[in-house]
Symmetry: C2
Subunit: 612 residues, 2 copies
Amino acid sequence: MAGWTGKLLRVNLTTGKCASEPIPDAWLREYVGGRGLAARYLFEELDPTVDPLSPENKLIFATGPLTGTSVPSSARYMVVTKGALTNAITTSNSGGAWGPELRFAGYDLVLIEGRAPKPSYLFVYDDHAEVRDATRYWGCGVFETEDGLRRETGLPNLRIAGIGPAGENLVRFACIMNDKHRAAGRSGVGAVMGSKNLKAIAVRGTQGIPIADPESFLRAVWQLRRQMNENPSCHAFGELGTAATIDMTQAWGGLPTRNFQQGQFEHYANLNGNSIRDTRMYRNKACFGCTIACGRVTYLGDAWNKFLVNTHPRNWRVAGEGPEYENAWALGADTGVGDLDAVLKANWLCNDLGMDPISMGSTLAAAMELYEKGVLADDQVELPLRFGSGDALVRMVEATAYREGFGHELAEGAKRMGEKFGHPEVFMGVKGQEFPAYDPRGFQGMGVAYATCNRGACHLRAWTPGAETSGVFPPHTTEGKAPWVINEQNRSTAHDNTGICLFVAFAGGPIESLVPCTAAATGVPFTIEDFVKIGERTWNLERLWNLNAGLSRADDNLPKRLLEEPHTSGPSKGVVVRLEPMLNDYYASRGWSSDEGRPSPEKLAELGLANL
Amino acid sequence: MAGWTGKLLRVNLTTGKCASEPIPDAWLREYVGGRGLAARYLFEELDPTVDPLSPENKLIFATGPLTGTSVPSSARYMVVTKGALTNAITTSNSGGAWGPELRFAGYDLVLIEGRAPKPSYLFVYDDHAEVRDATRYWGCGVFETEDGLRRETGLPNLRIAGIGPAGENLVRFACIMNDKHRAAGRSGVGAVMGSKNLKAIAVRGTQGIPIADPESFLRAVWQLRRQMNENPSCHAFGELGTAATIDMTQAWGGLPTRNFQQGQFEHYANLNGNSIRDTRMYRNKACFGCTIACGRVTYLGDAWNKFLVNTHPRNWRVAGEGPEYENAWALGADTGVGDLDAVLKANWLCNDLGMDPISMGSTLAAAMELYEKGVLADDQVELPLRFGSGDALVRMVEATAYREGFGHELAEGAKRMGEKFGHPEVFMGVKGQEFPAYDPRGFQGMGVAYATCNRGACHLRAWTPGAETSGVFPPHTTEGKAPWVINEQNRSTAHDNTGICLFVAFAGGPIESLVPCTAAATGVPFTIEDFVKIGERTWNLERLWNLNAGLSRADDNLPKRLLEEPHTSGPSKGVVVRLEPMLNDYYASRGWSSDEGRPSPEKLAELGLANL
């Protein structure tokens, strides 16, 4: 049996040099792929104290060993860099078809260094890679850029990951978009790409992906497919999309509303999975090889021209994709906007202009709070930033991407904006990154999950609401939550490393099912214990990198509002987050020091990280 | 019978005030409409010495009494102002459906004064008129702006005349475009509009047009329709479009090639009416109420992505309209480009970005001559400006509109560009305006027609090639041409004043047929003699205005190339233009002084202009 090998494409934008190199065998076995491997490279090569927008920062696109294979939902790649929003290590994950295409071209990772002297794109066709002029695409939206690159190259199947105007303009929460509607969304990875003058990475691959033991692999894949098909969640995701979650968070009082000033939103039913499916959806849509198909292809209602106030005609689209649950919340409940058309429109704008809708909505919500409280006056904003204003939502999304008017302030994210206007307390997030759509006063476990996530506030590393609403433990207690979160973080990290979508775990395919797939694909007899250890190793490596970047226990904190201001009504009435006991428990259970949360020498030795 | 009245909409952009006022009855009778009336207003109100791009300049949109009626081809309006390209009075004429819509709204003329404090558009709905914010459209192409305004207002039948990026950027030969593909093309009227921060005039009208004697009117209209239907030229225009003319000018050695360095173009057959119809045309297209339908709706060939070199993706259109004969020549033969796809693409770009393709092509041809002769070096241009380069053609059209790179020089027109680079002799035109597509060495009469046209070089005021190739007089002689040109100028000017397309005269409807239509429409018993006198009056009034602006006999001249350098081959071999004798004859026959060409007091008295 041929040995398992990995290939990295190293691109220096300053010199234009592209070269491939083998990935060290030991790293493959220690980290499996994706996020873990990329963190290992970053640990090896990048000074964690550099300015994230300087040419010294490095930007890694990483697939896993299952990306592009016939394992269901094998579409994922991970973007790892020093985040423009967070100054911490990023782990921004995306689906679509770009990741698989990169593997078809023969690469597992792409590592970008330096800064191009002018707007450029990276063109990869199997083993041919070159940096090309992209001047003509600078200023263009994501959709136009993708169509343009396909036309220019004459390759209709070219797959493109790139940035929109937001990334070019260094919006702190700019995304990297691929396949038009899929996003490596969080932490400002798009701003890092923009700072490198890199508009896009366009990939066409025509090669197969080597599988060490095809028979065992197919058996494992079909076992997983059967499991998923028999699981009702798998079908529910396809039917109602992720936005169905809004009913659950609303019911438990954990749907953050108007910048976390309330825990329930009176118009939640306008934005949920049923409303989207029944009134605004052409069809659902799947990423590469996915049997879930949670994507929504959507259109506007009859009043499609309602939210054109002051927007540029080139952004007047009347069809697009989404929103997912997170976006329906951030652009909807969190800004108090209950009009689904405004949310759809804002969501499409985020996709085309290349911005993270979570941070966008949350930053706008913080600005709305400042406006409603009189901190921002009418002469500072082009239109009133009232909670619930669809006009303000749509226009300010656009203005942020172009840094027009007050959009220039929003483009800095809620933390920097709040500080600038003397009200840091309006920032709702961790490590500079805005919260996603779960109020930890409704789901206590999310408090410690948010506080400890290496990339800043995140719901995808340990999602507690499922366990907290199904009897594993109650939502408002703290007991046992830290160890549960740690185990989830380790498992989801190993899951991420394989290149498979996390939703597989929610749809009948826990990580245990991915272990035999990975073992058969790579020829390495991984066990579930190996996987959890790989996840823990990756998590600790990321933590070490963050500590070296200057982060500490002070950055594992929550805003005062969550710790001291309970909701006054609803199911989570009277609850605040008791973070301190959970955090102490977390550090101890992790084997980290209680002062700064540094992994102990014993822990590092156990994980094989002692010499780093 | 109700008296004939006229209504002018006066808009002051500086104050935003819109008001309607009656047009003096005497002026209506003395000038009938359109171009004549507008010249009368300009003479009355505008200091001819102002900078054309200053707020002091005035910009008039003028229809005629037949515009929008059931007379065939009644689509025309005229734009009269001080030209940004010429410093002379402009008479830029356009079809489509905007002019009729203005009359349906109840107005005959719109007079624009001042400068708006920010990008604005004028909205007219019957007797409601207001200046509105157009910030969102600034930077947008013509097509996007038109679609946007229709969406914004919710009026699908809104008709729009406006400018593209070229007008905003004060390109000296920017057009005013209406109905996306129709142009008030010449002399830089779009730059004047841009200098006023006026992006567009959007009009919706729901009223009828009063006809003094409906029965006589319909009888005259049907007589004209019959005449035209029985005339083969009428059908030939619809079948092959104006580009069929290229075969004739090529045959007579009067097709200016490579900036008038040759009189025949070896690839002419790629660009003619047959090639366009047979290989690139979906269908022909008519303006409002037109029975000729000379417009071409066109597409690109298989190699549609051939000319994307360095162009912005937002300009990658694959369908559009045109080219007309003039554009096929200016963007084709004059630049030496024989590739029809490059010409189509460049023509569409001119339409969407809002530039005159004649001046564009001719200015580029002058730059190509400078490049080929080594005056322009490779480090001054982004790509080689070689005659015949489709890449250079397409990209430089775009670059000119945005004033990018060397496009900034081209945007000044050939005269200013040639002077700047020390070679004024490469400018082929009169009064700063580039020639259209007839080489006066092939058609001698065009020499005096070009030299004496009030708006600078123009083929539409007295078109001699028809008479010179059909036995009226030979092409290379001078005898009798000045009086013929004068008569044509007077007749075509009266024709223009009615609001009817000049092509009607080529398609079986001479001005004699328009006299009874106008008489019946207005209730004034005009005769053909009245009409010729009205034309002569208008012509002399324009001349007076130009003289007051500082123009003189020195401006009624031709470039040295036409006067001294004969072609060395082809049917016009050895011929130069003998302008002097024709010009002397012209001045004498006009009753103008021989020194500066000033109308004599007797002539002014005869025309009723003595007191001006």
